[in-house]
Amino acid sequence: MLNRKGRRWGADACVVGFSGGGVGAEFGDPLRERMVVPSLKLQDLIEEIRGAKTQAQEREVIQKECAHIRASFRDGDPVHRHRQLAKLLYVHMLGYPAHFGQMECLKLIASSRFTDKRVGYLGAMLLLDERHDAHLLITNSIKNDLSQGIQPVQGLALCTLSTMGSAEMCRDLAPEVEKLLLQPSPYVRKKAILTAVHMIRKVPELSSVFLPPCAQLLHERHHGILLGTITLITELCERSPAALRHFRKVVPQLVHILRTLVTMGYSTEHSISGVSDPFLQVQILRLLRILGRNHEESSETMNDLLAQVATNTDTSRNAGNAVLFETVLTIMDIRSAAGLRVLAVNILGRFLLNSDRNIRYVALTSLLRLVQSDHSAVQRHRPTVVECLRETDASLSRRALELSLALVNSSNVRAMMQELQAFLESCPPDLRADCASGILLAAERFAPTKRWHIDTILHVLTTAGTHVRDDAVANLTQLIGGAQELHAYSVRRLYNALAEDISQQPLVQVAAWCIGEYGDLLLAGNCEEIEPLQVDEEEVLALLEKVLQSHMSLPATRGYALTALMKLSTRLCGDNKAAILEKMPLVERDGPQADEEAKESKEAAQLSEAAPVPTEPQASQLLDLLDLLDGASGDVQHPPPLDPSPGGALIHLLDLPCVPPPPAPIPDLKVFEREGVQLNLSFIRPPENPALLLITVTATNFSEGDVTHFICQAAVPKSLQLQLQAPSGNTVPARGGLPITQLFRILNPNKAPLRLKLRLTYDHFHQSVQEIFEVNNLPVESWQ
């Protein structure tokens, strides 16, 4: 072990002999005397740390010093112990570990010198806390110090106790603290009162010990003691209803104290900017609030005083405003006279007009609390609140938003919505979701007309579509469905909105639904409320197809688009161009309908999740529509069960095959089996695209254990192109649970022989399985 000058430290025996400290140690060994080097003063250490240019340098300096400190602690040098600990505390404040100083704190506290005690107690406050058992060791020292009668020492001890005293310590030391409450010196009494507050928080049963002295303490004139006592009473009242009832008796006395404060002339000792002891005033007001809540009698006693404080406080500086604010809070909370409440709201209104943003912030917060109980009073300040929406300050605009939403009622809804919508366009992203849902809720409650309602929702969806809640879509569709007269209007507007932008998912979903439902109205082309627009079937279909193909569309959105296409297939019966017909090899009964199916079946084949044909009864019943909606939007992975209905024009749909029959069906192939897990391939050659081969890979599990983390990869020869679609999942439950399906698209323009190599990885029976194999016996029809 080397000291700072590089000299070898003494033999281990020396160090062992002097560990644990003690007054005699430093004079013992001549060897050690020679080796003692003056340790760094705290100032010097701070200089060194400030001199470090980089974080690494600073860490080096600190680590070196900590090593010295540790060595010094080990040697038990009592003379410089306090200095070492002070340095350690500084280092601790910078964020470095300092737990090895804990024991030193105890030794310093036990010493008789004041300098030692001071640093020791400071260290105890910072380093010890009730999670370490060591803290109990200072209980005895504190007890001694408290009874010694030296004021600064008592002060230190009380401070430490109130900062880190645990429940056991509090119980042990409560009698001492109680004695100190009635001592003559205000310096110690103040601290004793605060320590009592802390004790009550830790050990509520001690309330009985500290309750009796309070009444006497209230008669003191010293501000510090008064302030402490009021805090103590507040704490007692908050914890026990019995104490609350007990202290209602002192309300007249509190009123008297506050009145004296307010009417007292200018006193230099306790005033800040002309307001006498605002801290004491605020504290008294807070206590009055607690005592007056739900209690008629106390509230009446306070009424005059509150009015007086409210009108007489000088509000040119922050101190006065703080007192006024507390007064307003108290008025609002107790059973105050009506006139007083109006006064409070007016004060808050005045605050709102103040140029100081702090004051506006507290005003907005308080008005929000008031708006439930005094709605009409707050309404008067609506214009100012709306002004605050335009603030650039994030805290203020958030408060203003909440308050504005609370102020919307049926008479001002149009104006407010305009403001809120303007705000939505420009507000910061974290407020968007709240704003959007707030607008939608308000619109729902207070919409003057359905058309306005639809317009509002549409606007919200276009501006902030990604931030709305999930049920907004369902709500809007229900709303539109119920407004018979507005179908044409809605579908036109939604179509226009969709044509502009297909990225906002809720908007796309609603628009797709609407187009599906009311496509005929859209194509009919006339609507009184907006300018006529000629819309072609093809455009509509192209748009829906674009939605289906877009990578931005969620599966739910695709479901909506598919459903819309299917509905259109029953509702549209215009004439089609020959080109569309050509694609279809088989022409069944009605050309257009079959055409729609071919289109939609192509889409179906291309999607990894195959949605079957959910049939639906003919149009108008809203409930059925909603069922369909739930089915389509809810879970496209697990399609709703088919409900065959004998409904009129739809039987032909059922008769028509979903997928046009391939020229000759290619048999399925089982390619893999292991311990009950099977892999099957099924092949489809779409007739309109001879180079394309679609392979559906199905993984089934008949074993007793689940298959998880299933991944299937494939490789084909270079002349072919392979595209893997996403699988339907990666878990196959045991005993014939839902299989995983995955679609492979293979393009083989040159009709090269098909070879396929598969790689499977999955977990089964708690083992990971990996299989690589080539598929033999591929049917010739798959590539010829």
Partner: protein, 149 residues
């Protein structure tokens, strides 16, 4: 209730920190950097109250030093705002024109001033006078201060 009291300079160096609830030491540095970031990102025209996680931060800037107090929502924000200024005025009296340098070097004194309002309850009656300064002395590191023993 006051949760913590910080004095951090613009570069993010903590000059003084006092936590009234136990916070792990590595979480403290994180908290301090986040707090100073949110304070620095605000301009002079914005209000001094920031909502941060489940605290409210009330801050005041003095030259290059930010004094930030974290409270829960039972506190009167403006009273705390006043309290911060009160604190600075006491220090000013004690050091005669206190500066950041004083804070760095005499931070143990500052911890001593906590004895003015022990515990998380702000109890400072607003003695911005010799009374407050005297109490500072009791906590100072200078040996041989008046009024001891």
């Amino acid at each position: 209730m006051i949760k913590f009291f910080l004095m951090v300079n613009k570069q993010g160096q903590t000059r003084l920190s006092k936590y009234y609830e136990h916070v792990d030491i590595n979480k403290r540095t994180l908290l301090e950097t986040e707090v100073i970031k949110s304070c620095l990102s605000r301009s002079n025209e914005q209000c001094s109250f920031i909502e941060y996680k489940d605290f409210k931060l009330i801050y005041r800037q003095y030259a290059a030093l930010f004094i930030v107090v974290g409270v829960n929502d039972t506190e009167n924000e403006m009273a705390i705002y006043e309290f911060i200024h009160n604190f600075v005025e006491v220090l000013d009296e004690y050091f005669s024109r206190v500066s950041e340098l004083d804070v760095s070097f005499f931070n143990t004194v500052f911890h001593g001033t906590w004895q003015m309002h022990s515990g998380p309850y702000q109890t400072r009656s607003c003695s911005v006078t010799q009374a407050g300064v005297q109490r500072c002395d009791h906590g100072s590191l200078h040996p041989g201060s008046p009024g001891l023993k």
